[in-house]
Symmetry: C2
């Protein structure tokens, strides 16, 4: 039995003296032994072969000579060179020799076999690529012209087979434990090549072929592979190869922009989750805008990629490592730093017992890809990543990651709020965002609200009751047949009781009230004790009543209950309601001066009215408050051109600090100014329409008061 | 100018032949050079000295000899031994010799100087520890008895000074770049030692002294230090040393249990964020329960610790590395695996250019601390962490991390939803959870809702309107003076019009409706188009009306608006309302059979009534639905003992699957069964009161029908 002092435990501790403790009576001897380390003693593998530089675009003009095609043979040369310049490899002539020093080990590149290529591609596809070897220059040019962003020369086949074979050999070396990890500096890239077509500079789907080949060759030791594709473009080819395959989890971060960014389809959408047995094993993180950087990528890693990878527990991780999201790449237009690539590599090293293979994809700024690849190589060797310079997330990133979590939480329990260890194939209300609403629709108190009671309806009903009781407001009747959806619009227009008599009128047109609440992180329902209604537009009512102005309050809901919901559009509803009120009521009031307050999307109704009726005799001003989600609306006059000037002089439009009308300030340095037809557009310091009103309420009220009262003093 | 083929770019690419490409005309030569690596060539430092084993508890009984004090000298011996057994160090006699092989390098341990210790501790504290060296056994025993979980012998001073000095030297070696990182296998531990008092087995605050000393000695190169304390206990001493110091970010993960877990104060609460200049530089992650494991720790790292650390950008990271959260440590009662410690170490290696120093704190299972420390050491050397076995989070973890983010988002922009790059010292509505409610209180439409319109009020008002209009329900008047808060309780009791005449009555007592919605991840407001009211208790109304039963609907809000809010308690309100209704209405109705449905906290009213009035003549059954947040309520009869049996026979209580009444199933294997006085308690498969009703509605309705109708057929 082991005792407190290495076997010497016969005396009470306090009687043991220091001098006799160092050599206890029955000394334990631990013989010297080999370090029990599986990884540290190994080197990092490197694939590189000058023959992959032979594939190149045939020059057809002097222009192409001085401004070469971005998928340029120097791409791999420059990466190889920077490794040598930093002493990570030794190869003075950069010839791709076998002996490259003590830190890295050369993995010989070979041509992928037809059998391997056919694991992913169709025989027709392979035959076509093979045929390029014998084509005439004219044939090559013809196929280059008609392909989807690809080019061919007579060496394309060789380079593509070497690139594909290099990826396979790099993965093999990792899986067999010959290297601790590997970097395959290969081209042409692969992730856009679909099973039956080349595309996007890619001929064979290198990483897909490598993954299929590894799964076939090492069925015992490699059962699950993660492919993380951080190329700025979506890897449509890789996704397609494994869309129905649960053994390969494909995760891609890419610019998407509703499918407009290359490759220009919806395949890169967050909703593409795989199919059949592969459902839930495809994770797309589609950036809705360019300009993302380290903070955005780290957020995606922390919130989605690492938790999902831990749950998947891969045996091998392959990085489809395009460096075109790198800062300085004008094709990608993003800002990932070399340090950022280092951090992502470091994080992925923690998976699959370190079995990590990095395979080059795109990346077109030669300096950026070299310095990025250098940092990745250093981290593969064991260096820590450098410090991140920025932790500032883009707002869009928070939104898209939220969407991705919503979608993927169906498949990954670590993403599911309140995961309870139950069977997740069973539908469950908690966390099953979309399912819940449908489910409630089926079970809710039918008489109460058709398909689920909308909170916004409840709030409006309550507001109406209060305005009726406490302020003696009255409803303005809306004739159903004149206005679409009006039968579903509850308590749309409410007026102060003096509205038919008043001389000065403030008309507030606003979206539904916002609700602020903490959300229970487990069940997804709200902490109702904390839930409060946020409706700063009500402050204009208060203020206007204090000024003895008449008040009209128009609530334009964002959505409506019931079966008409699908056809409803809140912007056209705001337009319809204001035109209707103008034509049927307002011009018959005794009022002589009107001010509009537009809040949120509903502001469109004000602009529309000013363009479609000549309101200049009565309307003295409009003050509007727009969150960044509400687009600026230009006045388009059907009356005369001077309306634009009138509108500019008499309209204030306060926007969120990050409203798109101000452009990308980070990028452009200073902000542009919207044109006159949008009114006088001013920029608040905050986000969120309620916050903007909070900041600019007084300015808006002063403008209204000046407009309504100044005129008065003039006329006296 | 560089060109596509390493300077040889005069011919069109398609005319270049493979053979002449390998040796281009003007060959670039990259001379062999030293690897540009700052970290990989260095070794990992190790602090160990057998003299730290001299500090030991003086045996006072045979019991202490066979079951020694947990802070046992073998703790450091066993860690050192396992490093040797695995070949990470070479030291056959385990004597702590200077030459320990090729992988690690010995950092000589020295005694901390008085000057260093006084950087953190008071002179009185130091003098007291010094005095133990000369104390008699009796004096030592006396101080051991009266201290807070500490013991002393005549060698305690030496061991404590070595432990503290070891921590300092380990950090120095890292900061000076003599080692890539370091592991200090030291004892006694330090993090509970406060500036003026030892405690929790700790004499000097080793890590705090080391951090202060490094900041003083390397003012240029070390400006910011992160201390991550993953010991299972809160490091009250370390926290106190830097509570007002913005240079040191202290982050602790620990069992807390509302301050009941050692050290038993509120100092470890999530709300302890630092003070003065140090406000925002103290992050407590307090586990509300034991049993947490790898998934919980990784979640904390991904959601809070890594983002905050990246933003802080430390120059040095020190881990206060207790291993008492390790699986197998009975004091800690948690389940962190060696792989989990490896992953946390790997993540922290990515900070501060790898400047990482691991200092031992607690940990009392000798096997667990040895295998945990071995994994940490391997990761320090460069091995990848092992695969995590479990990704299953505890529900409590999701809740506590949500709380921590709520609190810390005031200070860390990466935690703030919708961070907009503005000045964060300025109050901002977005993301400032508590501030928002207060702010809205000040600005909201005063006449409408006192201090912010509660969503639950709006919903109840709407429900009332619908029940009035569509079902012709009537309110049951409540006399204000008889019932506390009733003036603030809106539309509390609604009845079907036949309630005074009916023979069979179903009384539904429920909490406010839940609201389900997606929360905008940027502004924190709700997506109002998706927000729906979830109130499954209404389904009982529907069902009972179909059965031609009379219906009473009682809504007991979780909180009330207005100035009385602070005194309001929803459970006592439910009790008061039911007693009032019983005494003033129900017993005068013509009804002969009553069934209660209790939903949520409001169910307490049903149990209370059954204990305080003899309802057995009329009440035939109660069916209740409880989420895990609603505690079981035992019936306590003021009438006679047989009420308990009656209650058991006639009451169903459906609880959430994870209701605490079922105990920790993971731990206990099978679940216990609640006692009879709680009624017949049944376990649903789901969480959330609405989900439980969804699952068990039919069962509840059948039980009510049997109770109301069976009696009927008997009497015929």
């Amino acid at each position: 039995m082991e005792t407190a002092f290495n076997g010497d435990r016969k005396r009470p501790l306090d009687s043991i003296k220091p001098e006799d403790q160092d050599v206890p009576a029955n000394l334990v001897i631990v013989p010297e032994r080999e370090p029990q380390l599986a990884y540290v003693p190994l080197k990092t593998g490197l694939c590189y072969d000058v023959r992959m530089r032979y594939h190149a675009k045939i020059f057809t003009s002097y222009f192409e000579y001085i401004d070469p095609h971005p998928e340029d043979p120097r791409r791999i040369y420059r990466i190889y060179k920077i490794l040598a310049e930093n002493g990570l490899i030794t190869d003075p002539t950069l010839s791709g020799r076998d002996q490259i020093g003590d830190l890295m080990v050369k993995i010989p590149v070979r041509e992928a076999s037809a059998e391997e290529i056919l694991l992913v591609h169709t025989p027709e596809h392979l035959r076509f690529i093979e045929s390029t070897q014998q084509m005439t220059k004219e044939e090559l040019m013809e196929h280059t012209d008609k392909g989807d962003s690809v080019y061919f020369n007579n060496d394309s086949l060789l380079s593509a087979k070497l690139s594909c074979g290099g990826a396979i050999e790099a993965c093999k070396a990792v899986v067999e434990g010959r290297v601790k990890n590997a970097l395959a500096v290969v081209r042409p890239p692969g992730h856009h090549a679909e099973p039956d077509a080349p595309g996007g500079f890619c001929l064979f789907s290198n990483v897909a072929v490598a993954a299929k080949s590894i799964l076939a060759s090492y069925p015992e030791s490699v059962r699950r592979i993660v492919i993380v594709d951080w190329d700025v473009h979506h890897g449509n080819g890789t996704q397609k190869a494994f869309f129905d395959d649960p053994r390969v989890l494909y995760i891609s971060l890419h610019r998407y922009e509703h499918g407009k960014y290359y490759p220009g389809t919806k395949a890169g959408g967050a909703d593409q989750v795989g199919s059949g047995a592969g459902e839930g094993f495809n994770v797309n993180i589609p950036w809705p805008v360019g300009g993302v950087g380290d903070a955005d990528y780290m957020y995606a890693f922390n919130r989605v990629i690492m938790p999902v990878c831990h749950e998947f527990a891969p045996d091998l991780v392959i990085i489809s490592s395009g460096f075109d999201a790198a800062d300085g790449d004008i094709i990608g237009g993003c800002h990932v730093s070399p340090a950022g690539y280092g951090h992502m590599t470091h994080a992925l090293k923690s998976l699959a017992k370190g079995n990590l293979c990095v395979v080059l994809e795109g990346g077109y700024n030669l300096d950026a890809i070299a310095s990025s690849a250098l940092r990745v190589a250093k981290v593969l060797l064991g260096e820590p990543p450098e410090e991140l310079k920025s932790v500032q997330l883009k707002t869009e990133t928070i939104e898209v990651i939220d969407d991705v979590i919503k979608i993927q939480s169906q498949y990954w329990k670590t993403l599911k709020p309140g995961y309870d260890g139950q069977d997740f194939s069973k539908p469950n209300i908690m966390g099953d965002y979309d399912g819940l609403v449908e489910k409630l629709g089926a079970v809710s108190f039918e008489e109460m609200a058709g398909k689920g009671l909308k909170v916004s309806d409840a709030i409006r009903a309550y507001q109406k009751e209060e305005l009726f009781e406490k302020r003696h407001f009255v409803p303005l009747p809306i004739l159903t047949e004149k206005l679409p959806h009006s039968s579903s619009l509850r308590d749309l227009v409410l007026c102060s009781p003096d509205v038919y008599e008043t001389d000065k009128l403030v008309i507030v047109v606003h979206d539904s009230a916002r609700v602020w609440a903490r959300r229970d992180p487990v069940t997804g329902t709200l902490d109702s004790a904390s839930a409060v209604v946020v409706d700063q537009s009500l402050r204009f009512l208060d203020w206007a009543l204090e000024q003895q102005y008449g008040v009209v309050d128009i609530n334009v809901p964002l959505s409506i209950s019931g079966s008409e919901d699908a056809q409803y559009n809140n912007i056209s509803s705001a337009q319809d309601v204001l035109l209707y009120l103008w034509d049927h009521y307002i011009q018959y009031f005794k009022v002589s001066k009107i001010a509009f307050v537009g809040v949120g999307d509903a502001y469109n109704g004000v602009v529309h009215l000013c363009g479609h009726r000549d309101v200049r005799g009565l309307v003295k001003c409009s003050v509007n408050y727009l969150d960044r989600a509400t687009a600026l609306r230009a006045i388009v006059s059907s009356i005369d051109e001077s309306v634009v000037d009138w509108f500019y002089q008499n309209s204030l439009v306060f926007t969120a600090a990050k409203h798109p009308c101000w452009g990308d300030v980070e990028k452009n340095g200073s902000s542009k100014r919207p044109r006159k037809k949008y009114g006088r557009v001013l920029r608040a310091d905050v986000e969120g329409v309620d916050n903007i009103i909070e900041e600019r309420l007084e300015e808006g009220c002063d403008f209204i008061q000046d407009s309504l009262e100044d005129y008065d003093s003039d006329s006296e």
